[in-house]
Symmetry: D4
Subunit: 159 residues, 8 copies
């Protein structure tokens, strides 16, 4: 788990990309008083090192008709089925996050659905996976924070 060495310039490049992944490299270059080629090389290096794994669009799910968020805790019949069940869960696009966890659940996942009825259908899909013994669901009444940028900036300040 050795940490990749990033220097001050890398941090500043990342800080700008975190705020806007579509910012042109020439803009980054101008602000840092380096060449656009240097930006390109360094971003490429960070991608190759696996530090930057990609970028993702932030959509407004409510506007797209997906206003229902649920957390589903899964009890398995046997933990030896964990890998198999996770593969089945991965086929359900409405599950955006899944963890193997301590505590009472074996797997814990986040589900986005259109409404109560849709949520029921998705929960039933999960329940019907072979090896799943039972599920417990917690409904989100409001997604108050969903923001990785504060963390990313913090990480680069700390490094």
């Amino acid at each position: 788990m050795a940490k990749f060495k990033l220097d001050e310039i890398d941090h500043q490049i990342l800080d700008m990309l975190i705020d806007n992944t579509r910012i042109p490299f020439t803009d980054i270059a101008k602000k840092l008083l380096i060449s656009a080629g240097t930006v390109h090389v360094r971003v490429k290096k960070m991608e190759e090192a696996g530090i930057i794994r990609g970028s993702s669009l932030t959509l407004d799910y409510v506007k797209l008709g997906y206003s229902f968020i649920a957390y589903v805790g899964i009890f398995l019949e046997k933990t030896s089925q964990t890998k198999f069940v996770l593969e089945r869960i991965n086929e359900i696009p409405y599950v955006t996050v899944a963890h193997i966890t301590t505590g009472k659940f074996n797997i814990f996942c986040k589900v986005r659905a259109q409404d109560t009825k849709h949520a029921k259908d998705i929960i039933f899909m999960i329940d019907d996976i072979e090896g799943v013994s039972r599920t417990e669901t917690m409904i989100s009444l409001e997604e108050s924070i969903n923001d990785k940028k504060r963390l990313m900036h913090k990480i680069f300040q700390e490094l």
Copy 2:
């Protein structure tokens, strides 16, 4: 909660941006046999409509020294403190997600930390917020799925 009307061209633009937010508009234009200007106008329109709210970098937290994920359930003394407590939580950059939930917790949040000791410090920060009565923590042993792209593609297929 009226749904914004997106046409087939919009879906195809979004589908491409979902896979790579940094794809040049000229590339999108070429593939869809439209002008880059049209792509630009449509993306702008979707941004103004609030459908596209931005883009975010996907970093490898493990490589950056953040390999510890915990879910923290918060019990408040009074739900009238919910807004105040969420504002305090928002000041802790290690909390990347927070929900108001049904079930036993008032607020449920996701925390990324460097290790066990760091997690303890963050949990104590949350516990020390005025109005927080108690917390319960569930540790992730493995983040098996963290992928919104499957969902985004699904949404545009369905629309």
Copy 3:
């Protein structure tokens, strides 16, 4: 808790009213080969005895925009506040049923809301009542049965 004596004719009258509270007494009379006056007298007697306490309309809540049902368990600070809290709950029209219960909750109630956001507002109203210490909510994914008629017919068969 002495049971009021109902005879066979009373049961048959009730059986018909259970299926349709608006059935004219003349129709009941015709079917039972008695006079409409007799029906009137007997229904009046059952109302005075408190057996029939009224009648209620069965509306389609989903069609009226109320598709969200939640059960809310309430923990009080002191059970001596039970009466006071129930009076406050009674002022919230979205709470259609409330019980004093054994088990972990002091009061258990049923809430009908328009959607998730509305449900959150109602739960917060309950949480903010003086004397309420905490609540736990269970969401209904589907109201599969809501039918007292089967029970009413059964009671009159048994009597």
Copy 4:
């Protein structure tokens, strides 16, 4: 989930029927200064639109010897059995309400019984349904509120 359009007159008709389903249409007509035929037509229209689904008698269960109310949470062996189990539950007239729920139970239902012994027999009937793994019961010590009229009036005020 399009809402049926009701006008002010419809609301006033419903408001009167909510308080007394047996009120003669001529009485409603007189109060609203419209003809009884108009009342009849509008009620019929609301019935056909499915807004009014019927009416039900409000009996005094205690006077009829049914003073025991329990809420029974059901754990299924597999959620794929939900539909089958609900059909079996529907054959037990003592179960007046049943929901598919989130949280720890798969199905949650309300039971009216004569006394403790009768409740035990009903719970055992539910427990014996194929596919039911376990049940947990919560006893009502007092049904403090059971009133949909406040909600109905509220809905028509809001519309």
Copy 5:
């Protein structure tokens, strides 16, 4: 559930027997200014009516080497096994009380044992009964009250 009619004299006889089941009938007779024969007849009648079901010795279990008390909650595989399991439990003399209960347990029982090791053996006996799925045990740290006399006197005061 008709209540047997007891008069004032019966109450006074019972009140004396409650305090000392071995009190000679002649002593009771003297205090109540009635004949010993009358006492005999009335006690006999109460025994025949099933009101007095017997008497039991109050031993000091600690002095007899039984200082460990545990409450054991039993989960059954199916409630249809309740009768069978209770018969097996009845063969274990260390179980002095057993109830069919609401809440999370199917059967709840009280166990008296010599010490921790003995308690473990008894719990294992219960666990090994066919149809028992799991048990949960709560240990008594002190039996602070075990006294039915206060209740018995209260009942006769109230009647």
Copy 6:
């Protein structure tokens, strides 16, 4: 916790008294081929040693109108209040047994009541004791075993 030495004769005397506390000493003497005086002396000795602490009547509570049994788990605000709360509980005659326990409750007690309403009143009495924070109640659906005689005989066989 030294065990009092009981010989074979003592065991046989106790065995007879366990089955019927009112058996005349002359009957015991005849069966054991010893004098009634010897029986008297030995019983007296066992009473003085505290082994026999008394005897109690076994009444049929259902016939006396007390058919409702509940177990109530009590959470205290501070365990330093245990002694005080137990003294208040001791003033409620409907509580026949109370234990200081491990597990989630501080005090666990058994309540006999007439019916659901009466049980509610008793639970509220307990809830209202100063120092009691909260209670949880489990209802008995059937008292299947309540018999110390099997244990008593077992103890004397083992000694």
Copy 7:
């Protein structure tokens, strides 16, 4: 459970060994003004009596790369499997303590691991033992006290 008789000299010898098991017997002898042979004889006697069962090294697990501590509660399918499961657990060196317990778990054990991933692997090893139905894990955020010396000294002061 008869207690072995230890005299004042034995206590003082034990008190010194508790602080440093490697202290030479000649040092102990000098301090107590007895001969080294006497120390030797008495230690031997305490070993033969089973009071001293050995000695163990106190290593710094964090320095050795084992900084992760978890408590794992095990639910068995049947308690008759307890012995078998404990034997399998005994083959996993990372489990340093295991108890048969009351409460919700059948077996409760302490696990030392290198990190989160290692802990997951160990928990899966336990989960995969035949007869284990499910496990629940609690993570230690800090081992604040791990010290038997205070207890040992206390025991010898009390004796």
Copy 8:
């Protein structure tokens, strides 16, 4: 958290000390074909590096009258009191282990007591510490494994 470098000879020395902390250095030296001085130097180095933190006696607690083991979970009023409460707990010699934990408890500790009554007194001591809100206790019915030697040998095999 850099790992101290130990070579093969160090491992073999530790392996022997783990089995018997009182083994003379001359015996270790003979087996490893090195000088006793070398053993001495290396052990000293490992002590100075903090890898060996001491040694402790393994006593038979049952023979010393301490046969009762309990795990006590502590809920604090505020986690800011953690340090203060741990200091108070440290003054109770019967608590041999204490952890700050995730999950429902703030602090989780292991208690050794003489018997049920003694355990109650210790639990009450913990409950009475300022800042402790509530405790839950789990009783050990048998300490089946308590052995760090398997782990220590494993660690040195792996290094």
